[in-house]
């Protein structure tokens, strides 16, 4: 299919990146003004629209090149190494939020409770506070709340994500064997499971806010709970959208048994999101 299998592909000029930066700039400008109490809805909408449009065209161009057979094996390897290190940067991003959770539970709260050399911290500042988990801190920030249990929806969500890890693997094997029908079916199953997961998460948030009084204001428990599950949920959403994109590409007959970097990149990303969830389930919900 290729006319340039022995050449490293270097694209000519591109206008997408600077427009992408412009979009992000407008978006962040708008969000900043909004956070300061101003009205910046137009800037936010325009910025978001530019970012999404640019991603559509930029990815579209690369997909076009890929299908035209412009990328040789070496380019493919570049994409793979790039994606691997991008996922590593995401690992470090989640690591800092897990780090905050562990720090609060193992150090900050016990110190506030007077552990170690902090007897006087406790006596003078927060007399009577006993360290425990879940906690909204010695000042009972956000008022009485109930923590999120592990064995209802979260356990179900764990099963859903683990199953989606299996379905995407089935789809991958089908792709390698050229079985397009199974490929399309199991890919669709995968992103459907992803969207069901998101639906449950949304339900859980509403439940937390309306019935448990568990909000972002609920001290360190609420902070870590919503930061970790929120960023994870955002990544699941992105991953599910990526799954839809490669599903549509599969329906159009993209990818071959040998050349399907985009499929594998999405699969890696999906597994990464899956593993992060296991960490969340154990440390945020369960223990």
């Amino acid at each position: 299919m290729a006319h340039a299998q022995d050449k490293y592909y270097i694209p000519h000029g591109t206008k997408w990146p600077i427009l992408m930066s412009l979009g992000l700039f407008t978006l962040f400008l708008g969000v900043s003004v909004w956070l300061n109490g101003g009205n910046a809805t137009p800037a936010i909408i325009v910025g978001l629209a530019i970012v999404i449009t640019m991603m559509f065209f930029w990815f579209g161009e690369v997909i076009g090149e890929s299908e035209a057979g412009t990328f040789n094996d070496q380019v493919d390897t570049s994409f793979r190494i790039g994606m691997m290190w991008f996922i590593f940067s995401e690992v470090m991003f989640f690591a800092v939020f897990f780090g905050a959770l562990f720090y609060a539970r193992q150090l900050a709260l016990p110190w506030l409770g007077g552990e170690g050399s902090n007897f006087f911290t406790n006596l003078l500042l927060w007399e009577g506070f006993e360290s425990s988990w879940p906690s909204n801190g010695p000042a009972d920030v956000g008022g009485e709340f109930e923590p999120m249990g592990a064995w209802g929806i979260p356990a179900l969500n764990t099963a859903i994500l683990l199953t989606s890890g299996v379905t995407i693997t089935v789809a991958h094997h089908a792709l390698k064997e050229g079985n397009r029908r199974v490929l399309g079916l199991f890919l669709a199953l995968t992103f459907l499971l992803g969207f069901i997961f998101m639906g449950f998460q949304a339900y859980e948030y509403i439940h937390a806010y309306q019935e448990l009084n568990l909000t972002m204001n609920s001290g360190i428990y609420g902070s870590t709970f919503f930061m970790l599950t929120g960023f994870h949920g955002m990544h699941v959403t992105i991953g599910a959208i990526m799954l839809v994109v490669i599903w549509l590409r599969c329906l159009r007959g993209h990818f071959t048994a040998k050349h399907h970097f985009a499929f594998e990149a999405v699969a890696w990303y999906w597994h990464f999101v899956d593993v992060v969830w296991l960490g969340l389930f154990i440390f945020v919900y369960w223990l």
Partner: protein, 526 residues
């Protein structure tokens, strides 16, 4: 592995597009490298002007020119601009220009991403600089952005935080590109241990960046939610801890200082062998030393926080692990010195800057050992001694490294020799003024003058006056660098491909100026 190039539609390439669009749409590593370097040079003067505001205010005791809040904004913005806007982009610029040429690659591995990495920067810089004109002014908490102080920033807070996010995206994308290029684009025969040291130091730097920029992004995200969404990460009342932010920041911050210095190590390791006309002494041990420094950088961060109230075991651990860094750094300094031993030395401008680097960086290294001693650091902490220490490693360290690299490779970039006399004048002015600026700060620091304070006791007046004179001298001397660069770009004596008679490496096998596309056919490396 074959690595020839192709271009969509055109098989005979006509070189770059014309006009401004060339620079906006370029995917060429040399164009993007130039953009990074020009941006960094501009930011050097923006950040430098801020430091001159600081030094003007500190010329004598009392308040003369600016109010204390604006003074604090200047210390904060000077640091943020110099770290994220000047020195890091400068070294990414060097990486863009030199890494593909040094490993025999046609270009960077991911050219569109490369364009994006650069073109985020002007937008992020605008976001950051615009905060100076807002209600409440720019961030005034110091570049470390410690809560709860930073949460008292006015309207600037979200702008500054999003700017940090964007700078992080740029760094991460740039680093991924550099890693992929080095891992996947080397010419046949260019095995890992044959790579020049500049390539090695950048490979390791890129790993550091990918590991720690997301940590900073997470940290400032928590600041944002604490400030605007009611979370309690850094508030004890809710069970959080402001000290947690310090841990997060310095888990990023300490690797960050090696991110800034390792590429300079790489440049010095190219320059000294060339002008000693000897191969680098202990090439492999330099690689291992660089890797050791990178590893250690992850387990030393709390030495920035000795006075915060850490358990004794923590202080001991961070003190000793910090001191371990002296070993691989010592290996490097001795290797550079041994490279010169019995070499046939000549002292062109790049070599002069490299030698100044060697002496003055070592002074900064030694004062680093002093502040690493936890009990002694209780005295040094937050004093001007610390300011003197890190400016010795950043200015005659990292910045001199970058300037040495600029003089070293300017003939290769432009095809012209720079004006050697003016280069030497620039060197001597810089070397004298940098010491005049920062050496007295050791004394006032040891005597107890705190940093980030616009006024001081009269006993510190003389040394501060000297320091301010030095700073203005150093600042204006850098205009000479701009003049030499412009002169060199516009014309001058034609440079040969070899340029320096002792230089070795693939970049010296291509003509000067290096053609728009190098190594469309991969060179053979033996």
């Amino acid at each position: 592995m074959s690595a020839t190039t192709t271009h969509d539609e055109h098989h005979d390439d006509h070189g770059p597009a014309k006009g401004i669009m060339r620079w906006i749409t370029t995917t060429n590593h040399k164009d993007i490298g130039t953009l990074y370097l020009v941006f960094a040079l501009a930011m050097l003067f923006v950040g430098g002007a801020m430091s001159l505001v600081i030094r003007a205010e500190l010329f004598q005791p009392g308040l003369q020119f600016v109010n204390p809040d604006f003074f604090n904004q200047m210390t904060t913005m000077h640091a943020l601009i110099m770290v994220f806007g000047m020195i890091m982009p400068a070294f990414v610029g060097f990486a863009n220009w030199m890494v593909p040429m040094m490993i025999g690659a046609p270009d960077m591995a991911l050219p569109r991403l490369n364009n994006w990495s650069f073109w985020i920067l002007p937008f992020a810089g605008t976001l950051l600089l615009s905060t100076l004109f807002m209600d409440g002014g720019g961030p005034a908490s110091g570049w470390t952005l410690y809560p709860p102080l930073v949460l008292q920033t006015g309207n600037a807070l979200p702008f500054a935080i999003f700017s940090v996010h964007l700078l992080g995206v740029s760094s991460i994308m740039g680093s991924i590109n550099i890693i992929v290029t080095i891992m996947n684009m080397r010419a046949p025969g260019m095995t890992l241990l044959k790579m020049p040291l500049f390539v090695w130091t950048w490979l390791i730097t890129a790993y550091l960046l990918i590991a720690v920029m997301p940590v900073l992004a997470g940290g400032v995200t928590m600041l944002l939610t604490d400030g605007f969404f009611g979370t309690s990460f850094f508030q004890a009342a809710g069970g959080g801890d402001p000290v947690l932010f310090q841990h997060i920041f310095w888990f990023f911050g300490h690797p960050e200082v090696y991110i800034i210095i390792l590429p300079a190590f790489g440049i010095i390791s190219q320059v000294i062998p060339t002008f000693s006309r000897k191969p680098l002494f202990g090439h492999d041990s330099m690689v291992y030393a660089t890797a050791s420094i990178a590893f250690l950088s992850f387990i030393v961060w709390a030495h920035h926080m000795f006075t915060v109230g850490m358990p004794l075991a923590g202080q001991l651990f961070f003190m000793l692990s910090t001191m371990l860094i002296a070993i691989p750094t010592g290996v490097k300094v001795f290797n550079w010195t041994a490279t010169m031993w019995r070499g046939s030395l000549s002292f062109e401008t790049p070599m002069l800057f490299a030698l100044a680097f060697l002496f003055l960086f070592t002074i900064g290294g030694f004062s680093g050992l002093m502040v690493a001693i936890a009990p002694a650091d209780f005295q040094y902490h937050d004093s001007y001694f610390v300011v003197a220490h890190f400016h010795y490693v950043l200015v005659p360290g990292a910045l001199f490294g970058a300037i040495a690299g600029a003089y070293y490779w300017l003939p290769k970039w432009t095809g012209h020799m720079y004006n050697e006399t003016l280069g030497k004048v620039h060197f001597w002015l810089s070397a004298i003024f940098v010491n005049l600026t920062f050496f007295p700060q050791h004394f006032v620091g040891l005597a107890g003058m705190p940093r980030r304070i616009p006024d001081y006791a009269t006993q510190f007046a003389d040394f501060n006056a000297i320091s301010s004179v030095g700073a203005f001298g150093f600042g204006f001397s850098q205009l000479l660098l701009v003049y030499v660069v412009i002169q060199c770009v516009r014309g001058g004596e034609k440079a040969s491909a070899q340029v320096w008679d002792g230089a070795e490496g693939l970049e010296w096998t291509v003509p000067s100026p290096a053609p728009y596309h190098t190594f469309e056919e991969p060179p053979l490396v033996r």
